[in-house]
Amino acid sequence: MSTARDEILRRIAAAHTAAPPPPLAYADIERGYLTGGEATGEALAEVLVDRLRDYKALVRRVERTQLPAAVAAALTARGVARLVVPDGLPPAWLAETTVDVLRDGEGHRLGVDDLDGADGVLTGCAVAMAETGTLVLDASPDQGRRALTLVPDYHLCVVLPESVCDDVPAGLARLDVTRPLTWVSGPSATSDIELERVEGVHGPRTLEVIVVHDTQD
């Protein structure tokens, strides 16, 4: 008996016999598009901030030494009382805040109701693509599993200078796609009503990003 798998593969082969496809090897595919520009450091961070603001994300720019104070200030401004954090978050980031911290990690998973009851979540990110204003979470220790950044209504994300890169090709090259990836470009949004963009549907309705820079000479 022929399985569906065999039959579909056989149909494809028959189609190729009936209408031979043009030969085009993978290596011969023309990739004339841009990959990574010349901009670095501050210039890239500026593009990133511009794009994030365009998506209606809130943005704070601070020097690395000011990060703990910026975290505390953002949480206070938002009125966060219960904050979800992944186990691997650098403890220094929380040094100046007094909010209740709900930790999630191996052996002590928060339930969805805990996440739903929290006021926000704080994470880092794996890569930030300046040109599209995209933050990629890859479930590293400072980001945690995917549900953490999904259920709470407020996501505070720290972007360190070393994670900022130029564009999609440059960012993708740094990622391991077999990790669970979430690419975030602004807060959740919809264009389903008259194609007018509205921020805030099922994912976090507020995205706040702290873009960190090192002290310039």
């Binding site: 841009l34 993708l172 959740s188």
Partner: protein
């Protein structure tokens, strides 16, 4: 065993296997001209469509203009697709192996019926009586919701537009924004009468309507055991699946339930992870007119402790291999479902998505649906176009839709001639047209010298003269646009310069409703 060595393969293959009749949503109840007549009589619908498509055209143009390498990206996208289709068995087998190695289970479905059976059985095995769904063209195509319902399983659409369609007992009319035919006031009415849990003081502010949808679906997401999704891309090299979305309903479905079932057309496979750098730049700019869509999720099999712990991938044929067997039509499989071709199409803008009778409306639907079902089941669709070429220019993977339309018209007239054993001058005209359109230089010359309308049509200068009842209905539909009186490029330049209120030439009637401008950019809209 190599599946490519069966003796039946040699010589002339039999008739390609198309999507089965009686299941799924690829066929309408009426021909395009009949269905279009209802739409053309509906002034509200035409205003809604005109407003929405003008908005999205302007957004797309702005973000495309930002990329100096847009043409290079399009060409890379096109070549990637051409290469993949030529090596489809290898990539599908590689994808299967990679997904399996990471703890997923791969199923193959010859057609809609088989896919529905597989998914239904998988849901039943979990004991769940309901599922949450992410918007997916493939599952709409196969009529999965109807099949699940017949098995006593409730399927909840979670995309805002799909929710509007589902609550309104309606059909989708656009690939990206299935409820594009509804305006905010109509959506408010649907929510008030169908949601059950909605505040009666609900306004028609889109943000308020989105908030109502959030509340309505929250519990469903947090308690769902099974989710069903489609996939925008499946990476053969790594087994990684990708879903591109905006609202976060996709993330909810892909992350929270215990079991995830993904239905993916076989043409969605891409060779390597690096190839996503091309498609993830082309798709958002072409579809919602954004630099990047708010959320893209990627997952590879099962990740312990993160997301669904059971993952099933259903690879769907349902007529795709039939499309592949047509050298002139197979590029329709290269589509990444961005919907740019719908938004620029003057016929779509007036007739709306429902007139196409299939889940795939607009220019892509006009070339894809007839090939998936066999031309006889969607014979009028290849005529649902003025051949103006706007779709080709907009398409991020450079699918030459006008040429495929002409090819399908020729195929249809030939089939008709064969059946009726009469000579068919029309098939000759179509062949001539296909020849002219098969080469950019000949095509441009034809546009300049004769205009294609004169090249093809003899009666009343109408494009698409067909020797079948379709033709009489088509030409009898007064409102369907005449062929462009000027070349598309001239027309486009004349009509689309201002941001607002673009209308195909010759269109009388009220201007699309424009919102009070919030960004102070309404120059040119005061006429």
């Amino acid at each position: 065993m190599s599946p490519t060595t069966g003796p039946v393969l040699l010589g002339m293959p039999g008739r390609p296997t198309t999507s089965p009749r009686g299941v799924g949503n690829l066929r309408g109840e009426e021909t395009f001209p009949q269905a279009a007549r209802h739409a053309l009589a509906d002034a509200q619908l035409r205003r809604n469509l005109g407003h929405a498509t003008a908005t999205i055209r302007a957004k797309r143009a702005a973000v495309v203009a930002e990329r100096p390498d847009w043409e290079e990206l399009r060409e890379a996208g096109r070549q990637l697709k051409v290469h993949t289709m030529a090596h489809l068995p290898d990539y599908l087998v590689q994808l299967e192996a990679a997904v399996t190695a990471r703890g997923g289970v791969v199923h193959w479905a010859r057609d809609a019926t088989e896919a529905n059976q597989i998914v239904t059985a998988l849901v039943q095995a979990t004991g769940a009586a309901e599922v949450v769904k992410v918007k997916s063209m493939a599952t709409a195509e196969i009529g999965l919701n109807e099949a699940l319902e017949a098995a006593g399983i409730a399927a909840y659409e979670t995309d805002l537009a799909e929710l509007i369609v589902q609550l309104g007992h309606d059909k989708p009319s656009h690939i990206l924004v299935p409820a594009i035919h509804r305006n905010r006031a109509e959506i408010r009415q649907i929510f008030l009468s169908e949601m059950g849990d909605v505040d009666p003081a609900l306004t028609d502010d889109p943000a308020v309507l989105a908030g109502a949808a959030r509340l309505h679906l929250r519990r469903k997401f947090l308690s769902a055991k099974v989710a069903i999704s489609g996939a925008n891309f499946g990476v053969a090299e790594t087994g990684t699946l990708a879903v591109v979305e905006s609202e976060g309903n996709g993330r909810m479905c892909l992350t929270l339930p215990e079991t995830l079932i993904t239905v993916m057309g076989i043409e969605k496979v891409v060779p390597r992870a690096q190839d996503l750098e091309v498609f993830l730049q082309l798709l958002p700019r072409s579809s919602t007119g954004e630099r990047m869509n708010p959320y893209t999720s990627m997952w590879t099999g099962v990740t312990p402790g993160d997301g669904p712990q059971a993952f099933h991938l259903v690879l769907l044929d349902n007529g795709r291999t039939a499309v592949l067997s047509d050298a002139h039509g197979r590029d329709a499989l290269n589509c990444i479902r961005c919907s740019a071709c719908l938004n620029v199409c003057p016929v779509y803008e007036r007739a709306g998505g429902h007139a196409y009778g299939s889940v795939y409306p607009g220019p892509i639907g006009a070339i894809l649906s007839p090939q998936l079902t066999g031309i006889e089941d969607n014979a009028s669709l290849p005529y649902a176009s003025t051949l103006c070429g706007a779709c080709y220019d907009a398409c991020p993977v450079k699918i030459d839709i006008p040429t495929i339309l002409v090819h399908l018209r020729a195929e249809h007239t030939e089939a008709h001639a064969r059946e009726h054993k009469v000579p068919s001058p029309e098939s000759l005209a179509m062949k001539a047209a296909a020849y002219v359109m098969g080469n950019p230089r000949r095509w441009t010359l034809a546009l300049r010298s004769a205009r294609l309308g004169r090249l093809l049509g003899r009666r009343r200068g109408v494009i698409g003269p067909v020797p079948v009842p379709v033709a009489q209905q088509w030409t009898g539909t007064r409102d369907i646009p005449q062929p462009p009186q000027q070349s598309f490029r001239d027309w486009w330049a004349g009509e689309h310069r201002p941001v607002a209120a673009a209308r195909p030439s010759g269109e009388p009637g009220p201007a699309p409703r424009t919102e009070p401008d919030r960004r102070g950019q309404d120059r040119g809209a005061g006429s």
